[in-house]
């Protein structure tokens, strides 16, 4: 069989595996949602106070940029995990025993990721068509003008993201939760790196900018600005793509992207970068070698390999023990349970499960942040240090609610008596204790300062964060959703103290404890209901 056909089969299998999962419908659903939000005017692209007439050119450009910015952020989280899936399903071990090269595999995974993201771009294309027809400002359809921004802005950006997802999965540090957090900051950095140089030149865009911008925004902005200045020379230098409140008041006619050779080449270059990233991933890919597996099982295996070189005496003792034939030993009957409430024992067990596996430096940092909250001036503690203290345990919170499905322990735990009533509250309580402990320094300061309102906000946050983690874990069956959402929320809402989005509740100007108390209750109710359905008999 030719290499092309093998590649085709690999990509097809990967694509089919994903599209036959419910999560794929959610993925497309998100694309539809984003398309609708753009259509409804909740996502707005504007220059100064202007937006374009809703013709094929403007609608296409808008959809192209929305896709290459917002959808790339989410798309990464959607496609990351395909190598891990091969590992957990053990298909990887079968593939590893074939003559397939590592680079062939990582390129196939990249193409598999790309097909999924391309399906989302297709949805956005349909949304663009509907949007132009529905708005009726200009009903003349120019298909190339409408769809070319999606093809040449969005698709290369998606290809790059698809390859980065593969690269992240092959790098030991980035394949898990750390990678999920890192992507948000890398994505922000990529956008800034693309727009930054033009911004420093007062909006003047050069061809060089097109080559180091993955979203296509500077190239588009440069051309739009030129056309706007022709009809409105007084217009200010500003370009924004925003969600929500801002609405432009004026319109101008935008006739479409002028695809000169340099711009097209710049956009196609991103396919090259994507291929390079996929090939780079092959260098780090462990080819499902259990001894080089990066997960906790692999770490344990390596640690055990070291322990297996332990003193011979210990081995001899073990041998002696084995010779004693323990299977013939009789088990002492267990006395009837005392009926005492073992809830706190469960909480302790869950707490240990949560904290197990973290290195000493993790605890040292958590402790240092807690102490810093006590020692620093109160405004610094509540405005800054608490943010660091409440991003640090992200990977402790994120497995809450999904650990049973991730490690396939559900059948053992859910067949225990009162699994719903005991285990779920115990996980939540353990999460609350972690949140309280990491941010406890600030609580002490607030109590000393007698700031009752902030104490209330703090306590609500202590309940809200683990509730969000638990609910998203139970609902999604994984930790990725929480890791992505919490990072974005933490950065956009809490770190910038945006009222309504700041869940930390310790800065008066942005604190909305009642809102987050309500949200906490809703989240807990949702995860309780979902877990009820996961258990045959709740």
């Amino acid at each position: 069989m030719s290499r092309g056909r093998v590649l085709g089969h690999l990509v097809k299998a990967d694509f089919l595996t994903r599209v036959r999962r419910t999560s794929f419908l959610l993925t497309l659903g998100f694309a539809v949602f984003l398309g609708y939000q753009t259509f409804a005017g909740n996502i707005v692209m504007q220059l100064d106070d202007y937006r374009g007439v809703y013709n094929s050119a403007w609608v296409g450009a808008l959809m192209g940029v929305v896709t290459s910015t917002f959808l790339t952020l989410v798309g990464f989280y959607i496609v990351k995990g395909s190598i891990q899936r091969d590992e957990t399903t053990r298909v990887g071990q079968i593939l590893a025993a074939t003559p397939m090269s590592k680079s062939f595999y990582t390129v196939a995974k990249f193409l598999g990721n790309f097909t999924v993201l391309a399906a989302m771009v297709l949805v956005m294309g349909v949304a663009a068509l509907c949007m132009q027809l529905a708005h009726s400002e200009d009903r003349t359809l120019h298909l190339w003008t409408l769809l070319s921004p999606l093809l040449l802005f969005a698709l290369p950006a998606m290809a790059f993201v698809a390859a980065l997802a593969v690269l992240f999965e092959t790098l030991p540090l980035l394949r898990g939760g750390v990678g999920n957090v890192a992507w948000f900051f890398l994505w922000t950095g990529l956008l800034v790196a693309g727009i930054g140089p033009a911004a420093t030149r007062g909006g003047t865009v050069t061809h060089a900018d097109d080559f180091h911008d993955f979203s296509g925004m500077p190239g588009l902005y440069g051309q739009m600005r030129g056309q706007l200045l022709e009809v409105a020379p007084q217009a200010h230098e500003s370009f924004s793509l925003s969600i929500g409140s801002m609405k432009p008041h004026k319109r101008f006619l935008w006739t479409g992207v002028h695809w000169d050779a340099v711009l097209v080449a710049a956009r196609l270059t991103w396919f090259g970068y994507a291929l390079a990233a996929a090939l780079l991933a092959a260098l780090f890919f462990h080819r499902f070698d259990p001894a080089r597996s990066f997960g906790p099982a692999g770490r344990s295996r390596r640690r055990n390999a070291v322990q297996e070189r332990a003193p011979v005496v210990e081995f001899a003792a073990a041998k002696q023990l084995a010779q004693a034939d323990p299977w013939t030993m009789r088990l002492t009957p267990l006395p009837p349970a005392s009926g005492k409430n073992r809830f706190f024992a469960m909480v302790a067990a869950e707490l240990r499960l949560m904290l197990q596996g973290h290195r000493w430096w993790w605890y040292a940092m958590a402790g240092a942040l807690c102490v810093a909250c006590v020692a620093a001036p109160l405004p610094v503690s509540r405005g800054g240090i608490i943010l660091a203290a409440w991003i640090w345990p992200l990977l402790v919170w994120s497995p809450m609610g999904s650990r049973e499905s991730r490690y396939a322990t559900g059948s053992l735990i859910f067949s225990a008596p009162f699994a719903l009533q005991r285990q779920l509250p115990a996980v939540w309580t353990a999460g609350v204790l972690v949140t309280l402990a990491t941010g406890g320094g600030l609580l002490i300061r607030l109590l000393i300062a007698g700031d009752g309102r902030s104490v209330a906000g703090f306590l609500v946050a202590v309940c809200f964060i683990p509730s969000l983690a638990l609910a998203l874990g139970v609902l999604s069956g994984g930790s990725k959703f929480f890791e992505a959402l919490y990072t974005v929320w933490w950065y956009t809402g809490a770190a910038h103290h945006i009222r309504g989005l700041d869940f930390t509740g310790t800065v008066d100007a942005s604190s909305t404890p009642a809102l987050y108390l309500g949200l906490t209750i809703v989240l807990l109710a949702a995860c309780w209901m979902r877990r009820r359905t996961q258990l045959a008999y709740a």
Binding site: G295, P296, A297, G298, R299, S300, R301, R302, R303, N304, A305, Q307, E314, A317, A318, L321, A322, D325, P326, W327, T328, M329, R330, L331, T332, P333, L334, P335, A337, S338, K340, R342, A345, M346, A348, A349, R352, L353, Q356, G357, R403, Y407, A408, T409, S411, L412, I413, F414, S415, A416, P417, F418, A419, R422, Q423, A536, Y537
Partner: protein
């Protein structure tokens, strides 16, 4: 102590019945659950272990309907699923302590019990090592230990000897036989010799239906005088396979030793003592031929 399964059925999707009109009454002893792949054994065990709900019928434990009072059976249940996971960062000791807490066991007796169980499954010397580094057989032994944590009155084990080495397998079979003296043990396996060594009763399942339920002696009696062995040249093997229901063939220097189930003795054949494997194959073929329990 009694477990009653009354007309239980389980449907997946709108049409696929994994189990249909299944009835069985169990008292202390070891029930060997035998059946081909996809017969419905795991579905039945998932229902008994309260992991999944029956679509129809009732499971009663000591007079309590499991659908209404699942915790009545969960409190006395030990369950070893065919596929189960462990938390790789926890050691065997910590994992068992965690599950003891989940099962609501008191701390001190649980700790003593864990010590005993780790000795029992031969893992006491590696109790502190993270489970992620355990071999498949070692993980299986952790699974066995967790199933016995709460001193269960109802022990359900699905393919418990998978991954165990022959020596451990024999030991575990002895343990099961011993446990079956005072509790209900349900053992599902494809390894007929495991059932042969431990079961006081056998249930044969095929296509989600109960094919036979009887003590092993009764099943063996059904094929008494119908098992024959003889030697043929290798070249005749295919022809013989067309004529007889073969239960085993072994190639030796004098030719192929054939074992077959048939009412009339083949030419040159000698009667052989029936095994449970013969009885199992006979019951299944009767069921498949007639579509009714043997």
């Amino acid at each position: 102590m009694k477990l009653s399964i009354e007309n239980v059925g389980k449907r997946y999707g709108s049409q696929t019945w994994a189990l249909r009109r299944f009835s069985l009454e169990l008292k202390p002893g070891v029930l060997g659950l035998l059946g081909p792949n996809g017969a419905g054994k795991t579905t039945l065990m998932n229902i008994l272990a309260t992991i999944t709900r029956a679509t129809e019928g009732q499971v009663m434990w000591g007079g309590a309907d499991v659908a209404l009072e699942p915790n009545a059976v969960r409190a006395v249940l030990g369950y070893l699923p065919q596929d189960f996971g462990v938390y790789p960062n926890l050691s065997a000791q910590e994992f068992l302590e965690y599950l003891a807490a989940v099962k609501g066991l008191d701390a001190l007796p649980a700790r003593r019990r864990i010590d005993q169980l780790l000795n029992l499954v031969n893992l006491s010397d590696v109790r502190g090592r993270p489970l992620g580094g355990y071999s498949g057989g070692m993980k299986q032994r952790v699974g066995i230990a967790q199933a016995l944590l709460n001193d269960p009155q109802l022990l359900i084990v699905d393919e418990p000897t998978a991954g165990l080495d022959p020596e451990e397998r024999v030991r575990f079979r002895n343990l099961l036989a011993e446990l079956g003296g005072e509790r209900i043990v349900i053992l599902s396996t494809h390894i007929v010799s495991d059932v042969e060594a431990t079961a006081t009763e056998i249930a044969l399942i095929a296509n989600g239906a109960l094919v036979a339920h009887a003590p092993p002696e009764d099943l063996l009696r059904r094929v008494e005088g119908r098992v024959w062995e003889w030697v043929i040249p290798s070249a005749d093997l295919n022809a013989v396979k067309q004529c007889y229901r073969i239960s085993n063939t072994v190639r030796r220097s004098d030719g192929v030793h054939v074992r077959a189930l048939t009412d009339e003795p083949p030419k040159g054949a000698l009667p052989a003592a029936p095994t449970l494997e013969d009885a199992y194959l006979d019951s299944l073929s009767v069921y498949r031929a007639a579509g009714v329990p043997a």
